[in-house]
Amino acid sequence: LLQDTGSWPASFHIGRRATLAEINALDIDIRPDGKGLPPGQGNALSGQTIYTAKCAACHGTGTAAMNVQLPGPALMNDSAGANRKKLRTIGNYWPYATTIFDYIRRSMPYNAPGTLTPDEVYSITAYLLYANRIIDQQTMMNAASLPAVEMPAKKLFIADDRQGGPEIR
C-alpha cells in the first residue's frame, strides 16, 4: 500500500506556507498543560449567571436525572468522584479541567457554537468545577489556575493495553 518514495523529490512544491495569522485564527485547542489558553478570567459567581442564561435550558441545573429528557447530558454530580456508575459527569469522569474550556469554547452552546468570549468560557468552566465540588465559588480561573486544577477522575484513566493476539481484553 505505501508508496515507494525512493524516486520522489524532496518537495512536490504543492501547497503554500501558512502565515502566523492564519494559524492563530484556527489554533483554538487547549492542552492539559494549559498551552493554548487565552488571556482572561472568571469565577463561578459570574459563571452561574451565564450558565443559567445560555446553558441550563439544555443541560438543566440539577445533578440527578430528571423526569424530562433534556437535549444535552447532565454536567454535575453532588459530590466529586461519586456515583460514577449512575451518572458520568465532569466531577467523576473528566480527567482534565482544560478539556472543559476547550470543548465549551469550540462546541457550545450547541445552537450557537463559537460565540462565547474567553471571560465567559473561564466563568462557565469555573462554575461547572464549582458545581461539581472541585473548586470553590470565588476561585478565579485563568491561564495559570485552570491547568493546575486536580480532577478527581484523573487517577482512574489508563492507556489501552489491547495489542492484538489471542487474549481477550
Partner: protein, 385 residues
C-alpha cells in the same frame, strides 16, 4: 398506438403508470444522465438524532453504497464549499503549510477499501432487532486520497512529534488526538469514496482515514492537523470514547477488535426447511480476517465458512456457509478470527476481561440468531446489566 415512452420519460422518476404486465411490449425510458434505484427497492438507513445505521440485512457483497453509509455526527453535516476548503498543518513541523483541495488532489494518490465502524456499535435489548439495529454503525467504501506521510514529508514533521490533533470544520469543531505512528503506518487524507467525491455525511470534501481505528478518530471535514509531543485530551477522548474496565477507565482504544455478524438469515426473515446459505460479514481493525466459523447448533460445534476473495486488510469480508436446516428449533452463530490470532469473544468473555461495569464502547460479542420451528428468525439478546 403510442404505448412507447421513448424519448419522453426521464429515468430518475419512472411513474407507476409505466408499470406493465409485459415489459417486452413497452419501450422504456432511454439512457439518462444519472441513474436511480428500482421503484421496488427502498433500502434506508435507520436514523436517530445522532446517528444513522446501514441496512446490513439488505446488502450484498462488501461495498456499502455511499448514500447508505452509516452516519455519526456531533453537530450535523456542514455544507463546505470545496473552492474555499483549506487544510492547515502546523505545530511541531519545519514548515507550517496550507493545502487547498486541489493541492491535496495533486499529490501522489492511493486507493484502498476498508471498513469504518463506530466504537459504540452494539445494541442488544430485545429479540426483534435487525442486523442494522444490532450493528449497523459499520460500512465499507473504496477510499482514494493522499497518504498522510506524503503530507508529513512535505511539512517536515519533527522527530519529537509523537501525537497530532485532527480537527473538523463542522459546528462541533470535532477534535481527536492521534499517535504519529498511525501516519507512518497507513493513515490517509481521503477526498473520494466509491469512485466519486466523498459524500457530505462522510466528510466532504476531505476527511482523515485511519484504517481499522474507531470511527470517531477518522475526523470528517478535516480543517487542521497540529503536531505535538503529547495528546490534547479533548472531550471525545476523555468524556466519550473511553470505557470502564474493572476499576479503571480505558483510554485511547483505537483498533476495532475482530467481529462478525450473520446478516442472512436474520430477523425479520422467515426461512424454509432445506438448504440455506448462511451469509454475513466479518472484519478486524488489526488486519485481515483469517477465518470465520459458523455454528448451527447453538455453539456446540463450529465449521469454517467460505471467505470471499480478495480478503483485504481491515476490510469487511463476506463469508458464506451452506447448511441444510431440518426444521428443528436451533441457534446459528458466527465468530471471526483475525490474522493476529484474536477470536471474537462471547459477551461472557468480555465481562470476564472487563468487569460487570464494562460500558458500551468496543463491544464485539458473538451474536446468535434463534431459528424457530416456523422458520422465523429472532435475535438472542445478551443481558449483562
Amino acid at each position: 398506438l403510442f404505448k412507447s415512452s421513448y424519448g419522453r420519460m426521464i429515468q430518475t422518476a419512472i411513474p407507476e403508470s409505466l408499470y406493465t404486465d409485459d415489459p417486452t411490449k413497452v419501450v422504456g425510458p432511454p439512457p439518462g444522465a444519472v441513474g436511480a434505484r428500482s421503484p421496488f427497492e427502498h433500502p434506508v438507513k435507520k436514523a436517530s438524532d445522532t446517528s444513522s445505521r446501514t441496512p446490513l440485512q439488505d446488502l450484498y457483497g462488501t461495498i456499502t453504497p455511499a448514500d447508505l453509509h452509516y452516519e455519526r455526527h456531533h453537530a450535523g453535516v456542514p455544507v463546505i464549499d470545496p473552492h474555499k476548503y483549506e487544510l492547515l498543518i502546523h505545530g511541531m513541523v519545519d514548515k507550517p503549510m496550507v493545502f487547498t483541495l486541489a493541492d491535496l488532489k495533486r499529490f501522489p494518490s492511493v486507493s484502498r477499501t476498508c471498513f469504518l465502524e463506530c466504537s459504540g456499535n452494539f445494541r442488544s435489548n430485545k429479540e426483534t432487532l435487525t442486523p442494522q439495529e444490532i450493528c449497523g454503525l459499520t460500512s465499507q467504501s473504496e477510499w482514494t486520497g493522499v497518504m498522510l506521510t506524503t503530507l508529513f514529508r512535505e511539512v517536515g514533521v519533527q522527530p519529537r512529534a509523537s501525537w497530532f490533533l485532527a480537527e473538523g470544520g463542522d459546528a462541533a469543531v470535532m477534535t481527536r488526538s492521534v499517535p504519529v505512528r498511525k501516519a507512518w503506518d497507513d493513515a490517509m487524507i481521503v477526498y473520494a469514496q466509491n469512485g466519486e467525491a466523498i459524500r457530505p455525511e462522510q466528510g466532504y470534501p476531505a476527511r482523515l482515514l485511519l484504517p481499522g481505528w474507531e470511527g470517531n478518530t477518522n475526523v470528517k471535514w478535516l480543517r487542521r492537523l497540529e503536531l505535538s509531543d503529547q495528546p490534547f485530551m479533548t472531550r471525545e477522548e476523555t468524556s466519550r470514547y473511553t470505557y470502564p474496565v474493572k476499576d479503571r477507565i480505558r483510554q485511547f482504544s483505537f483498533e476495532m477488535d475482530a467481529r462478525s455478524i450473520i446478516t442472512f438469515p436474520a430477523f425479520p426473515q422467515q426461512v424454509e426447511k432445506g438448504w440455506i446459505e448462511i451469509r454475513g460479514i466479518a472484519w478486524s481493525g488489526w488486519g485481515k480476517i483469517a477465518q470465520v466459523e459458523v455454528s448451527t447448533n447453538a455453539g456446540k460445534t463450529w465449521q469454517p465458512a467460505r471467505l470471499q476473495e480478495p480478503v483485504l486488510d481491515k476490510a469487511h469480508t463476506a463469508f458464506r456457509y451452506l447448511w441444510q436446516w431440518n426444521g428443528e428449533t436451533t441457534e446459528i452463530l458466527s465468530r471471526a478470527t483475525d490474522e493476529t490470532g484474536y477470536t471474537q469473544p462471547t459477551i461472557q468473555q468480555l465481562l470476564n476481561a472487563r468487569g460487570a461495569d464494562m460500558g458500551g464502547y468496543h463491544l464485539n460479542p458473538v451474536t446468535a440468531w434463534v431459528i424457530q420451528r416456523d422458520g422465523k428468525v429472532l435475535f438472542r439478546p445478551e443481558k449483562w446489566k
